[in-house]
């Protein structure tokens, strides 16, 4: 009894240090997600053709689908994905559900931008972080016993970020709001609610022990299925095919945008896993800041605009950074993490999942019963097929005739790559991508 107590006391600082490491990893993942989700907008800016936004969205989702199968196969191997699914098969339903929610939300943003402009639409759907905080608190014990300081840090930080996002969106929007304003506002709010709710399946999967790399492979079936259904039902099969044919020259850029988006989303998944959705969503919402950097520095979007616009951009960026800092410094306390573990225990009991698997996964390590991930011929085949498809479309792509600030593009690409390497290595060293 005494020796058990002694070993428990001895392991406590070790556990606290591990928990702190995972929190920092989650915060770093959130920042990296923001950079890559923002960079995903860059290839789409190269495309200025007269095809329906639904078609653009569908082609991006095809790029997403290819990336969601090839990247996990390359990092861990499909054997690891199969093992995860055997342990928690019920989560496939949540993954598909989350993919459907994403597709509907993404379509709504197209309507929102068309009807009220980006300046009103973006802050409205960015309110998804506030809904994420609510769902995290209600369903997954997030921010329980967190104390007033952390509540203020997370909620206050998310609110400050929303104000900052509004300022940035107003500054970056060139078009004045057009007709059907109520319809646009409803569409933007709807997108925010759908995206905020999409994080329920994310958090459920990671509390249950599923690896983010496994979750996204099934998520993408919902994403591609729903997006295809929406495109066919809104446009019709024949017009959809004609538009795809006419967009042949730019398919590569749109698919590349989808690929880059997946990199960002993978880090977003790790952020949701290690800091929870209440902190992970606002951190990855910094993508707006990165999108603005790409737009202004590389594509010269605000060139020649008045001083007040620049003041709005600087003010909005500072507010967003202040909000991010407030959230980053409000990491979960030991007592809050105990409540997360209670939520994980509830899931393992409900779905009869081995407790050691759930516990090991929450701790970012492999459980004793898990086989070491290994790659097979199928994985290399998946990677080769995805690469071949990208090379084919790359070879047929047309170079856009557009003025770019290449030094700025290289600097931003280098910064995003540096974050990718730093976060990827940290994830590998700390969790081996678990």
């Amino acid at each position: 009894m005494q020796s058990t107590l002694t070993s428990a006391l001895a392991s406590q600082p070790q556990q606290t240090s591990r928990a702190r490491k995972l929190q920092l990893l989650g915060i770093l993942s959130g920042f990296t997600a923001g950079a890559w989700l923002g960079a995903a907008e860059a290839p789409t800016k190269l495309v200025s053709i007269g095809v329906s936004p639904l078609v653009i969205s569908l082609i991006m989702v095809v790029g997403v689908f290819l990336a969601r199968w090839s990247v996990p196969a390359l990092i861990l191997g499909t054997s690891s994905i199969r093992a995860d699914v055997r342990r928690a098969p019920h989560l496939i339903i949540w993954a598909i559900l989350a993919g459907c929610l994403w597709a509907v939300a993404n379509t709504m943003t197209i309507f929102a931008i068309r009807d009220v402009g980006l300046s009103i639409a973006f802050p409205l759907w960015n309110s998804n972080s506030l809904l994420g905080i609510l769902w995290g608190f209600l369903f997954f014990n997030e921010l329980r016993q967190a104390g007033l300081r952390r509540w203020l840090g997370v909620l206050g930080g998310a609110l400050v970020m929303c104000v900052g996002a509004a300022l940035l969106a107003i500054a970056s929007s060139s078009a004045a709001p057009v007709a059907h304003s109520y319809r646009g506002v409803w569409a933007a709010l709807g997108a925010g609610v759908l995206w905020g709710t999409m994080y329920i399946p994310y958090r459920k999967a990671y509390l249950t022990g599923m690896n983010p790399l496994s979750f996204v492979t099934f998520f993408t079936f919902g994403e591609l299925g729903m997006m295809s259904a929406l495109a066919v039902s809104y446009l019709g099969l024949a017009p959809l095919w004609r538009q795809l044919q006419s967009a042949r020259d730019v398919l590569f850029w749109l698919m590349l945008g989808g690929f880059i988006w997946v990199i960002g989303d993978l880090f977003q998944q790790y952020a949701a896993k290690y800091v929870g959705i209440s902190r992970g969503i606002p951190l990855s919402n910094t993508n707006q800041l990165w999108g603005l950097l790409w737009g202004t520095l590389v594509f010269g979007e605000l060139h020649g605009r008045g001083h007040s616009i620049y003041a709005q951009v600087i003010g909005g960026s500072l507010l967003m950074m202040a909000g991010v800092a407030a959230i980053a410094f409000s990491s979960a306390t030991t007592s809050e993490q105990t409540r997360w573990k209670q939520a994980a225990h509830r899931e393992s009991q409900r779905y009869n999942i081995a407790a050691d698997y759930v516990e090991a996964s929450m701790d970012g390590r492999q459980s004793a019963s898990e086989a070491k991930p290994s790659r097979t011929a199928i994985d290399w085949l998946l990677v080769a097929a995805a690469t071949a498809i990208f090379i084919y479309f790359g070879a047929t792509a047309r170079l856009p005739q557009i003025q770019l600030n290449w030094p700025a593009a290289l600097a931003l690409s280098a910064a995003s790559l540096a974050l990718l390497v730093l976060c990827g290595l940290t994830l590998h060293r700390t969790t081996r991508f678990h």
Partner: protein, 39 residues
Amino acid sequence: MPNETAPRQSTLACILTDIHFWVPLGVLIAGLLLLRSLS
């Protein structure tokens, strides 16, 4: 280890009685209806 002593519900029953399933599903259906009314 999984709890093997208590009588267990089937996985389907667990899913259908899980609020984490109904909330996203309800939001998805509402979203599809909203999308239909917007277009």
